[in-house]
């Protein structure tokens, strides 16, 4: 099934659902009672405006779709790699996880061959680890 990103009705439906969700939360917070400092008042306004905008977008009509990707498999594959990285990070230490991500990333994006990918990933991981952990004093994941 093709994703209809530019379909105005689908977008309007999603926005209306979101607006509805915000309104439900506003109602839960008791925002419909108009006390001046009610925590639900701002969510109430936001939800109503989202619903209004959903109506306007439905009338807006479908936009021009984005030109097709140069290589859609490349985009989807890398997106999956991005999604997988936090999972890998939960099992492996950061240097190993990032080196693995880079090797697979370089190979998937056809940037270089096996050997160069391993060497570049090792050097890259070493630079990132040293730079951020010791120079910027950042705690690594």
């Amino acid at each position: 099934m093709k994703l209809a990103w530019h379909n105005a009705r689908l977008q309007a439906l999603l926005i209306a659902a979101l607006g509805g969700g915000v309104l439900v939360e506003a109602w839960r917070l008791g925002g419909f009672g108009f006390t001046p400092d009610s925590p639900g008042r701002f969510p109430l306004i936001t939800g109503v405006l989202l619903l209004l905008c959903a109506g306007l977008i439905a009338r807006d009509g479908d936009g021009k779709p984005e030109p097709p990707a140069a290589d859609m498999r490349m985009v989807v594959g890398f997106a999956l790699l991005i999604l997988a990285f936090p999972v890998v990070l939960a099992f492996l230490p950061f240097p190993a996880a990032s080196a693995l991500f880079m090797i697979v990333g370089f190979l998937w994006l056809r940037a270089m061959g096996w050997l160069r990918a391993i060497v570049t990933a090792a050097i890259g991981t070493a630079i990132i680890t040293v730079l951020f952990q010791y120079v910027f004093k950042v705690v690594l994941p």
């Binding site: 990103w5 530019h6 925590p39 936009g63 890398f78 990132i128």
Partner: protein, 507 residues
Amino acid sequence: METLALVFNPLLIVLTAVGVVGGIFVGAMPGLSVTMATALLISFTYSWSTEAALAMMMGIYFGGVYGGSRSAILFNIPGTPSAIATGLDGYPMALQGKAGRAIGLATLQSVIGGVFGVIVMALMAPVVAEFALKFGPFEYFLLATLGILLVGSIGSSSLPRAVVSALLGITFSMVGMDPITGGARFTYGSSSMLGGIHFIVALIGLFGVTEILFQLRLGSAVPVAQMHDKVFPGWRTLAKHWWLTLRASAIGFIIGALPGLGGDIAALISYDHAKRTVRKPTAPFGQGAEEGVVAPETANNAAIGGALVPMLTLGIPGDAVTAVLIGALYVHGLKPGPMLMIDSPYVFKNILVASVWSNIFLVIFGLMAIPLFVRICQIRRGILLPFIYIISVVGAFSIQNRFSDVVWMTSFGFLGYAMRMGRFPVGPMVLGMILGPLMEASFRRAVLLAEGSLVKLLTSAITDPISAVLLAGVLFTLLSSMDSVRRLTNRIAGLFARSSQPQRIER
């Protein structure tokens, strides 16, 4: 003495220089944006002093805006949106074997524009800040609303889409504890969401991961650079364009100072101005006219000074990068707005000093090492993108040392991609996340001051001149983008045009 120590602080000078080099690199690389670099940097400068963080960020800002011209001239691929206009004549100059001259001209004009912007900012900011002290909570609410609407109406083809994007940002900013009552909102029983979503995590996702996915759509062709000649264009060439330089600087500063308009719009308007007013260009516009490089490059760097004025004095960003800089100030415990100049005058001085050093380093690095930058610009996307993602992960994690932030950052990246595919601009969403708490707090305070009566609130808004002007601005922005109103005004304008034309006598 204190100011002198700040001006010649070796650490700040080095950090500004590093920032400028990094900025030129980021700006020159198509696909890497200055906003992305600044957003990533904020997370790493969390533990730095404010002075050090701001010095590096200003370096990146100036270097990045300038760096975009490099790839526009050499490859006809603008590295940043503000370099789109530069490529129109810069690339034809390069095709004629004058790439060096075009780069030299772009460098020096960027510096002239940048210095102009900094000087005018130094003069204007204290005056605007003093005026802004008269603003009450409702004025702040209106100003923030106007800023978001302006970003939406200019940066997007459809205002409702921009408003949805901003509302999404505002909704995300409400996740966590209510700022006044302390009750949980939008947390759905999860204790990890009580702390809210850090906007820098969202920024890294929206400008880092989204950009990675978008760059992948474009493929990974390596651009071919044009040959370059002598870089320094000569003093006579600079003197020849002084009047256009002055006008472009003024246009850049004014456009930059308007909330929501950035260097890209300033450069395009300035280019158009040059095209319409320069009678005898060095070559026809679009075919390698020097004026086509002078005008946009001067304007986009002058816009930086302009964009800093509303950021420092009102806490309202002039463009996307200043939106991120506001975030940086919040991270360092500072609140941008009129009180910033009074409570923390060193921040203003710091920004001024870093801006001046950035311009000095622009001349040095801009005119040197061109072959090296050409090589850097030719690095394949396939090598760069995995690195950027890993740095984004480190950046998101380092903010609160929470693994859930990495998940949030990735989710925002995918959300940003879906939004861009669906023609929803992400700029208003960022503004919504940053300005959301200010808007809500100001609105609730204003309602409390009006004793809970919305009628009283609106009446006082109409009678107060400042809020009346802001309210008119909000309404005008909303109405001017509505198709029905646009059609009506066009019809009225058409009627006037017809009635003012001389009547033809039928024989």
